[in-house]
Amino acid sequence: MQVGRYQRHSLIDWFDQDKVKRSYFAIIGCGAVGNEVAKNLALLGVGKLDLFDFDTIEIHNLTRSVLFRESDVGLNKAEVAAKRLKELDPSLEISVFPGDFWELLPINQVKAYDSVICCVDNFEARIKLNDLCLISGTNLINTGIDSKFSQVEVFPYKSGKHVACYECNLPISAYERMHQRYSCGWLKKISYVEKKIPTTIVTSSLTGSLATANALNLIRTESQNESIRILTDTFTGRSTVSIIEQNADCPACASMNDQVSLLRGSSLINSKFNDFPGHDIHIRTSEPILVSARCNQCTQDSDRDELIFEKASDFDSSIATCDICKQDSVEVVIKDVFSVNELLSGFLGKRIPTKYIRIDTENQTTIIELETN
């Protein structure tokens, strides 16, 4: 470690540069807030960073993104951010994942991070990331901005305590908004224009600073055992810090046992499924599956459903139109809960097309992350 580089940090009595150097973070989303968090962590001297973003740089990003230049337009955000961070600190170990974190980030890898910092721009990605952090027991720091307010939420899942999760206080309207992107339950709409939220570097830089400060605080003290939300009005400087209350009906954490075991297994549905304790046990898939489709004009016989068994999000609402009669008369079956019996009798030899399956028994939640080979 370059002692001279961190000479000013060494004057701070609570700042443990060695601990910071040993720390390892993931930044999900390398847009406005992600730029700020990444820049701050690099300058503080963290050891390792993993950057995730599938998106490319557009000219309008440049008003809020300290790591991007005009010549970067069209390039992947995570790749460009990594290049600039290496200029800031050549000793920083960075891995770049230019794609969807849900596809690229194994749950075991999430466990390796001190914190995951969520800098994405939609509810769906936040819910998925919350799932991964909750399952793996890894701290999650969620961020959000608009043109005036800055929001940072800290979920200390590493504390071992049952703390509130991201979904515990998510408004009902957020789920409704999320479903507006889909039709017929989880089929993508053919045409959906996402609302653009105006933001400035003022809110993103403040949010990046607060998120970084909290990430630092979690590696420094490890004593935080309540989830909190910091909401700041950047016009007035007024800030409120609230404890996020647990929700007994939370769709993400309420049914999850304190005892979570994480396994890896084949996605292939075969006779090994007989080993599950009880054939009536329910298996929940991490994403909804489009099980089957049938045109109720052309095919009256329900036994002649077309078996699909693929991720519902891989399809759009055009599947509702029958190829033969050209009517919008195709009925689809979409599910995310199956019994072992159902899988063995209806889908033997098929692969479960989701990231993981979850089995809740009285005392334990078992997560099996699925391998495709």
Partner: protein, 83 residues
């Protein structure tokens, strides 16, 4: 069921009202009434916080179950989605 007298305000404090609410009302009910009465932007999502206790109130939790009492100040906060 009982009535609770509380102050509801927006985060920027441009809107504020003293109201009597039934303790069976949920966090979501209070938010919806605030959005309707104050014509708050409907393309934003909101969360309810008791600034008196410093705790959030879950959308489906009643005010009574959330230990909201007379004189408490409830703040309707935006839930931010951009990054």
């Amino acid at each position: 069921m009982s009535e609770i007298n509380v102050i509801i305000r927006t985060t920027d404090q441009t809107r504020k009202a003293e109201v009597s609410l039934d303790s069976s009302n949920t966090g979501a009910d209070v938010i919806q009434a605030s959005v309707d009465n104050w014509a708050l932007p409907t393309d934003t999502d909101y969360s309810l916080v008791s600034t008196s206790s410093g705790k959030t109130i879950s959308p489906n939790a009643s005010l009574g179950d959330s230990s909201v009492k007379d004189g408490d100040v409830l703040e309707v906060q935006p839930v931010l989605v951009a990054g």
